[in-house]
Amino acid sequence: MNVAASMPSAANKLKSTRMAGKLVNDYWEMVWRAKEEGKLVCWYEGSAINPFLEAADIVWVHGEAYSAMLAARHLEGPAQAAAEERGYMKELCSYARTHLGCAVTNQRTRNDTDTGVTGAPDDADIAARLPEPDMIISAYAYCSTGQQWDEMTSRLFGKKIPIFNVSIPWMWASKKDAGYLRGQEWDETSRYVARQLDDMVKFIEERTGKPYPWDRLRELMANVKRASELRLEAMDMCTAHPAPATFFDWVVSIAPINNLPAGPQIVDYFTAVRDEVADRVKNGVGGIGREKYRLFFDGIMNWNKVGWLAEKFARYDAAVVVGRYTHMAFWQEPDLIDARDPVLGMAQNFLICPNNHASPILIELIMDLCKKYEVDGMVIHASRTCRAFTNPQFLIADSASKRLGIQTTMFEGDVTDESFYKDELLNSRVEAMLEAIDQRRLVAA
């Protein structure tokens, strides 16, 4: 099914999420002004260490967020081209490739390296506007790519930028007492990560030349905790039939919870979101025009196609009500955070990123979500260059089918490289899955 641009939208997006657009724009403007304003800039990937940086008045740039922003605006091309000219191959994580392309472009505009064939960027080239870092912090759970990406960024800048690594181990969960948020492995690994975060703070102090402002971190984390609670409250309300919001509303809400300034505005944002969701539940308003199917979305987002996919599923009358990327990430355990002494709780939230539990625990969490939201089917985004997410997907599909009897389907795509997305495959596979769901319902009736 092709989505005609002239047809009215079938996706009934949350209106409150429009605020996110302004918050995001304001944040990136802040980033682009950083050097003019004499601010230190930190590049980081993976774990949301930004409150640590914000507290110290360092401007933070989350590599994935920058790449996602470029892709969502369909401006990723020049950065990816620059990366390929440098020698980074297409099969590399496209988040990394896009961000490294920004670094390559940055080097070229500063005439620090040999020129390539891309040419000088113009003002519209957002990739070229990313300010170079004064420090790099790598704190990446599960995916080895993240740490290697940061190391290569450091080398692209001639190893002149100080770099700090926080190692966040994968939770293999083989000990007898292992479980979600419990067990010896959990306790010891939490403390290991927390100790490194304390050392990271010392690194920040060395960069700023000032004592670390712990009070400011506490203040920011209090906001993050509250924002998270509101977000989870709103998500929980989507167990209603029809679901008042969809996975795509939560995708749009990632930036406010993950990498935007953690001032009171994020509490305001999620308060507005929660209130709108509550209102929709009260009035029986759904996140799509007509909810005939409820789906789980596994995999990372395809940032070139957010709106496209939201509309597509809505036109299939399929409410994507829950997903691993949105519901098992981004400060999803706010109760762990003690705002008065936040480091351990932050470390623990970093440990529970959506990929960082091995399959025994990961699959249980996903099955629980499928039951909670009463899903009929599962759509799995096999992101070509994000193997962190694709690793357990066959295991997840198998469990969903055998344990819960729900239909699954997969489609190819990617995080920020549009060339890997195959629209017709998605169409035919989703249609087949929905037909299978219809058949099951007929038989059950």
């Binding site: 080895s144 190692s167 994968w170």
Partner: protein
């Protein structure tokens, strides 16, 4: 004699699981598999079991593609395929600690495919120059040792570990001797034969392997050096699986000899010994760190060593004429670092060629054309150098 020894190495290298079966039947012992790259087999050896590094199979991947996607490296897909087909049933347990995202995915799939096989993992720190790197590496090896003891139902004592370290060191030293002899033209081993030597060491009982190596080295040392006029080539890449022998044959068949490498199934595996004095767990942690300082691997991050610099040095020491980079398709660590190598080699005007290799069949004739052209370019550039420089 050396032909017989090489043939034995070839047999084991090409049929590793068959060797494991035969060893088990012969000794009644346990076989513990490990994934590449840094798991210390000494721990398993000290426990009286056979440590065996799991190898990529030559078979096409079939059922494995129901567990891992086709856009994963050949090693991970092959390992999962072997597990799903039951080929790894000979292993009594699998142990590893390395952090590569595709390896982690493979481990999860193997755990599901082999529910009755204990898979033991504790993540090794991959950031190599942090103040806590040594401590964490030691802790990781202690955890792995503890799990191994739990699995076997007995403790592993330090004296046994010291003994195993000595055995492994001797094996590594002998293979390094062969490497030195090959570089100096004293050991006419092809790249494929060298791979058999190293790969069989990854699989065989170390004492058995060392006994054969001693004989081989003694025989090679009695040989008269041969002078070869072929181009001298260094091979680089492949951090987990062995390059296919036909690629190695093809490269040498185009008129080169491989005088050095930093392949995992090559110098990388045997580059570094473990300190035989002092606390053995300290020694293993230091070995883990020293391995990467000695032969940097892009699967680790270590800002104070440069793999590109290492390669340029290796080229000089080996008097190599050109570098051939063998990149396993979908190997992310290699894809990340390769532009640095490319830039360094271009800047230093050292000829190099990138070949992307695959688990599935490759168009060897097309690769051969590229390699032949590469060698022609090297020869023309050498011929065009001023006479006094040609002599140097």
């Amino acid at each position: 004699m050396s032909d017989e020894i090489m043939d034995r190495f070839r047999q084991v290298a090409t049929h590793p699981l068959a060797y494991a079966q035969e060893w088990k039947a012969r000794t009644g012992g346990l076989v513990i598999g490990s994934f590449p790259m840094n798991f210390p087999g000494e721990l398993v050896h000290a426990a009286g079991a056979l440590p065996m590094i799991i190898q990529e199979s030559e078979e096409q991947i079939t059922v494995g593609h129901g567990l891992l996607f086709p856009f994963y490296c050949g090693f991970t897909r092959s390992t999962v395929d072997q597990a799903a087909k039951g080929d790894l049933a000979v292993l009594d347990a699998i142990m590893f600690g390395d952090h590569c995202v595709q390896l982690l995915g493979a481990a999860d799939a193997v755990r599901v495919a082999l529910p009755d096989t204990r898979v033991i993992f504790f993540q090794l720190i991959s950031s190599m120059c942090d103040p806590w790197t040594f401590g964490r590496a030691r802790e990781s090896f202690m955890e792995l040792r503890g799990e191994l003891e739990d699995f076997l139902g007995r403790s592993l004592d330090d004296a046994a570990l010291h003994g195993s370290i000595a055995v492994f060191n001797r094996n590594r030293q002998l293979i390094r001797r062969i490497y030195d002899m090959r570089t100096a033209g004293l050991a006419p081993l092809s790249a494929k034969q060298m791979q058999y030597v190293v790969k069989s060491s990854m699989v065989m009982d170390k004492a058995e392997h060392t006994a054969l190596l001693e004989l081989l080295v003694a025989e090679l040392e009695e040989r008269v050096p041969t002078v070869s006029r072929a181009l001298r080539v260094h091979l680089s890449g492949h951090f987990c699986q062995a390059p296919k022998p036909e690629i190695l044959d093809m490269i040498e068949g185009c008129g080169a000899i491989v005088v050095g490498d930093d392949l995992y199934h090559g110098f990388r595996y045997i580059s570094t010994d473990v300190d035989e004095a002092g606390d053995p767990m300290d020694a293993l942690a230091k070995w883990y760190m020293a391995r990467n300082t000695g032969v940097p691997c892009p699967t680790r991050v270590q800002n104070d060593v440069d793999w590109d610099g290492y390669l340029l040095d290796a080229m000089r020491k080996e008097k190599a004429d050109g570098l051939i980079v063998l990149m396993a398709k979908f190997c992310e660590p290699h894809m990340y670092y390769y532009p640095e190598v490319k830039q360094a080699f271009e800047k230093n005007d050292v000829p190099h060629l990138l070949i992307e290799t695959e688990h599935e069949s490759m168009a060897l004739e097309a690769l051969k054309t590229r390699v032949e052209t590469f060698f022609e370019i090297i020869k023309r550039r050498q011929a065009a150098r001023p006479l006094e420089l040609q002599a140097s």
